[in-house]
Symmetry: C2
Subunit: 407 residues, 2 copies
């Protein structure tokens, strides 16, 4: 079974919006052992939309489109596809009344333009929208299934989960399995060298192995095959080789492996963030239930707050500067004491693009971890890019913390 | 001139990686008045790559591909296209020596597998890679130009800026102009109602207008045309109608308009974040040079830190609970005093999915702003989704702050 996706929207091709819908569909289908085969992104233009449907219809059994179902003039997907599928839509007053109620319940008056969304297919089927006003469309023609969904992620996902997925799964198909080995602090080509004999061995012929570098310090090894047992065996063999560099499998992330270690060891943590300005706190609190281990901390972006809120000594700041081994040391030790947590983290650095000097160039970052009366301070020379420096600091900090906690 | 993009990679279709390269290319070209016409995303499979090149060659003058140039076995783009373009590549020992040096300078030994990246085109041209090991390819055939670029964003962008863009701009073409009016706190369909008479008027026939909803509380109005003057006139007319709801134009973001107001009025700001856990601090410090107005603050995720670091009174916490109007009030007032800033922000809420109750359901958020001895406290009932609640809190907070500062 081949599945194709059509993403409709000028804003996507213009780069104003990053399309995350197709990725979500890809992951959702992969969880069911199905793969997306091809994706075409097109402008909101009738001939372009038709061309894409024609192209995917050639070899795909399932075609899913997203976008262009809104009520405004730039939304032309529905009218285009009514034509394309020779549909004879009729105006549906009962849906208009339903929409009116929906708007009223939100304390809003319904704009007349929403009448555009009240046409009902006669040869296909409307897919209900539980989260918004634009219904989807479903056609089943010549053995192929077409799903036309809105572009608003929340609405699209609800429709996909409620209706589309079940409809796709009615068709039987050879299923793919996928596993991932997630590594940190080892280069892609080095991993390749260490495991190429396995990948090329005849035992693992049916396995498709790929490498996914994340940012700069992590590579995921993805293995796909129709044979689940063979994948698991290969995962075991690779694990034996890469051991220390593996922080997790499948959907496990670095933050999750740290979170698990903190929870299982009943440890609490606090942060004193200078150059990362709250990003580490944000990363921890992104996890639902993080209040079990994360108490909070101080964003000490100014030296004044480093002194007044984290009690870094005036002397240390003067002698070594805010971006120094010594300040990182005081930050992590003091914040653990101030917040009465088992672990304290201190991050100070020159994120850039300004603020660098010959002695303290942009990209210089000190990360300190205080735990069980031990100090683990690391100095890094990262990049010239502000965003990268901030994100890398978090990755490096979490990886160090992971190593300390699993010792 | 029609431009097409081919994104190559199983990881993209599987949804493991979100493709941001094509969006960046789209924006970069739009800055030059050029539009991307179509994008095809394909698996790392020879026949799929060829099919995509065939398809875009039909009507595009420029074809740009990204991905699949790495040294490992899953990277097949280069070999596929050497075949596709009937190239006769030769092994280039001098490039191998260059790569060896590049690795040595980084303190690493070069893995033998990188020899795969040392083949040199004879009918096309190699595009130098200033940031990595994989060179790009350029073919100019039958009036069409093909650029084959790596998928690593940093490498792709450098090649695009150094080589590809200049090559594309050699061709003359009708240029598009694009402007954006960025609004907050007004629904897409209401905007539509208010400005539809302009969009449909004959004065603006050549203008293509589209609406881009961002998250839940902001809509960008994009206008494209080949006539710059007409666009500017339409922007002026829409501005007169939507006035208060417009926070900026073109690439201006809400955070930038707040930042500008803070800088021009020489105001300093600090934050006390509970449910957002550092996200507001992160948002401010994401801006280079934010130390001019942002001093820092406290991530008071636990009640203990609300008391000890932000001096919220025990009595208030007990009587009203951590998520309350009164706590938001103390947070913003106290943090401004503690950090000696002109403005103090306090955010407390139930982000979810846990922690909700009948009186304090998930999505209840209080945002407090203290400025010039005034308190601006707002209560919001947001959504059931943790991530959305945290992000919306930041958007709402910034929009309130903007309104206060431009009064």
């Amino acid at each position: 079974m081949k599945i194709g996706i059509i993403v409709i929207g000028n804003e996507i091709l213009g780069g104003f919006t990053i399309d995350k819908n197709a990725a979500w569909i890809g992951q959702t289908l992969l969880n069911e052992g199905l793969r997306v085969h091809r994706k075409i992104t097109v402008l909101d233009q009738k001939n372009e939309i038709i061309r894409a449907f024609d192209s995917l219809s050639e070899d795909c059994d399932i075609v899913i489109s997203t976008g262009g179902l809104g009520p405004t003039i730039d939304d032309i997907t529905t009218s285009t596809l009514f034509d394309y599928f020779n549909d004879k839509p009729i105006y549906d007053e009962s849906y208009w009344n339903k929409l009116k109620l929906y708007f009223n319940n939100k304390g809003m008056e319904i704009p007349p333009i929403n009448r555009n969304q009240c046409y009902q297919s006669t040869t296909g089927k409307m897919i209900p929208n539980l989260k918004g006003s634009a219904r989807g469309l479903f056609y089943h023609l010549e053995g192929k299934k077409y799903f036309i969904l809105p572009g608003v992620p929340m609405e699209m996902k609800a429709m996909f989960e409620e209706f589309v997925l079940a409809e796709i799964l009615k068709q039987t198909s050879e299923k793919f399995y996928c596993r991932s080995i997630n590594t940190a602090a080892i280069a892609e080509s080095l991993i390749h060298e260490k495991i190429i004999h396995l990948i090329e061995s005849e035992h693992y012929q049916g396995c498709e192995v790929s490498f996914l570098p994340h940012k700069m310090f992590g590579v995921d090894i993805r293995i796909m095959s129709t044979n689940r047992e063979v994948i698991d065996k290969l995962v075991d063999e690779i694990t034996l080789i890469l051991q220390d560099n593996i922080y997790g499998y499948d959907e496990e992330t670095l933050i999750e492996s740290v979170t698990q270690a903190l929870l299982s060891q009943k440890l609490t943590i606090s942060v004193a963030e200078s150059c990362t300005g709250g990003l580490l706190g944000e990363t921890f609190t992104n996890i639902a239930g993080s209040s079990a281990f994360f108490k909070g901390g101080v964003i000490c972006y100014s030296d004044e707050l480093k002194r007044n809120l984290v009690h870094v000594s005036e002397k240390t700041l003067k002698k070594f500067g805010a971006v120094s081994y010594e300040v990182a040391e005081e930050l992590c030790r003091n914040i653990a004491r101030i917040c009465t947590t088992d672990i304290g983290i201190g991050i100070t650095g020159v994120a850039g693009p300004g603020g660098g000097s010959k002695e303290k160039p942009v990209g210089l970052v000190f990360i300190g971890i205080f735990y069980q009366n031990n100090l683990y301070i690391h100095e890094y020379n990262l990049t010239s890019d502000r965003k990268t420096n901030r994100e890398l600091s978090i990755t490096l900090c979490l990886n160090e913390l992971r190593k300390i906690l699993i010792k």
